[in-house]
């Protein structure tokens, strides 16, 4: 009996990501959820600009490539085109979602747009070669903060879940990570809930996934996973930041 295999919704092609990059794990989790909820045939994914720009080749559902940061606006259009039939998700990185596309993110959340957002926070711009992201940590060395992120000069990192949790709009906000098997299981649960919320017409769900970027962090894949524990989680604590339905049920 097969107990673990590639999910159907994930295309049978090699991913272009660097060795040890956790994008691949999150792709698989999204695809597993599409399989388990039986929604691959209704799903329409929106890919961002950034490392996951070619996600449109990796999911077997219909896919749209959006302009940088605009995925939530594109997803809004797709969802509104057929709110009962379309299951719409975006898959975005931190530069895409929290920098150039912050307005689109905040307003989609404020509208409680009935979409699912998978937000990869790896504290760096990966595709362009490791520049400072809106989520780069204080003193983090990147190509454009070669002396470490100086918060006096370029401000503080943005905690997206905390920021959005202040809005009345969103239904569900959770921060997870995928740096070990236990955390991967939690991440999958969160992603599944985010899609189930959409099916149940509950509204905007965003899952922030703390991810690794071994190449641009300049670490081995193993060390990068430890760095998530040591550096990222203290600044970006894991957990549920908003769950309106659960709150209302109480």
């Amino acid at each position: 009996m097969v107990v673990f295999d590639k999910p159907h919704a994930l295309a049978d092609v090699p991913l272009h990501y660097c060795p040890g990059c956790t994008h691949g794990i999150v792709h698989r989790l999204v695809a597993e959820v599409l399989d388990e909820l039986g929604i691959e045939g209704k799903a329409i994914g929106v890919a961002p600009v950034g490392c996951s720009v070619m996600a449109y080749d990796y999911f077997n559902c219909d896919m749209i490539e959006a302009a940088h940061g605009r995925a939530p606006a594109v997803a809004t259009g797709v969802k509104r085109a057929d709110p009962d039939e379309h299951i719409v998700f975006t898959y975005q990185g931190d530069g895409d979602l929290a920098s150039i596309g912050m307005a689109e993110t905040v307003h989609a959340a404020a509208r409680n747009e009935n979409i699912t957002i998978i937000f990869i926070n790896n504290a760096i711009y990966g595709m362009t070669g490791g520049q400072m992201a809106p989520t780069s940590l204080p003193n983090q060395v990147t190509q454009t903060s070669p002396y470490g992120r100086d918060v006096k000069a370029c401000g503080f990192p943005i905690r997206v879940c905390e920021l959005l949790s202040e809005l009345d709009g969103p239904e569900y906000l959770e921060r997870v990570t995928v740096n070990n098997v236990k955390n991967i299981r939690n991440a999958k649960k969160a992603i599944k809930k985010a899609f189930q919320n959409q099916i149940d017409k509950k509204g905007f769900s965003l899952i922030e996934v703390l991810s690794s970027c071994p190449t641009n962090w300049g670490m081995t894949p193993q060390k990068a996973l430890e760095w998530i524990d040591e550096k990222m989680i203290p600044y970006y604590p894991l957990g549920v930041y908003k769950d309106r339905s659960a709150k209302e049920e109480k």
Partner: protein, 68 residues
């Protein structure tokens, strides 16, 4: 008995599966090189594998299929 099937040419040799295995049964092959030019992951003792699939869970590239 569990069985691991490796899609060897998809492996990038990152080694996350090696660390994930609770029984330390996986290694990066010291002598093989796949089409991508990486030393691919392989199991050293199939008999000892319990099929927990931790390795497959950690693999970013869906290289490992687990049968039990």
């Amino acid at each position: 008995m569990a069985k691991l099937v490796f899609k060897t040419d998809f492996c990038k040799g990152c080694g996350l599966c090696v660390d994930a295995c609770p029984k330390k049964l996986i290694r990066l092959s010291p002598d093989k090189i796949n089409m991508k030019g990486h030393h691919p992951a392989e199991i050293t003792d199939q008999e000892a594998c319990v099929g927990c699939a931790f390795c497959a869970q950690m693999c970013p590239d869906c290289v490992i299929k687990v049968e039990r």
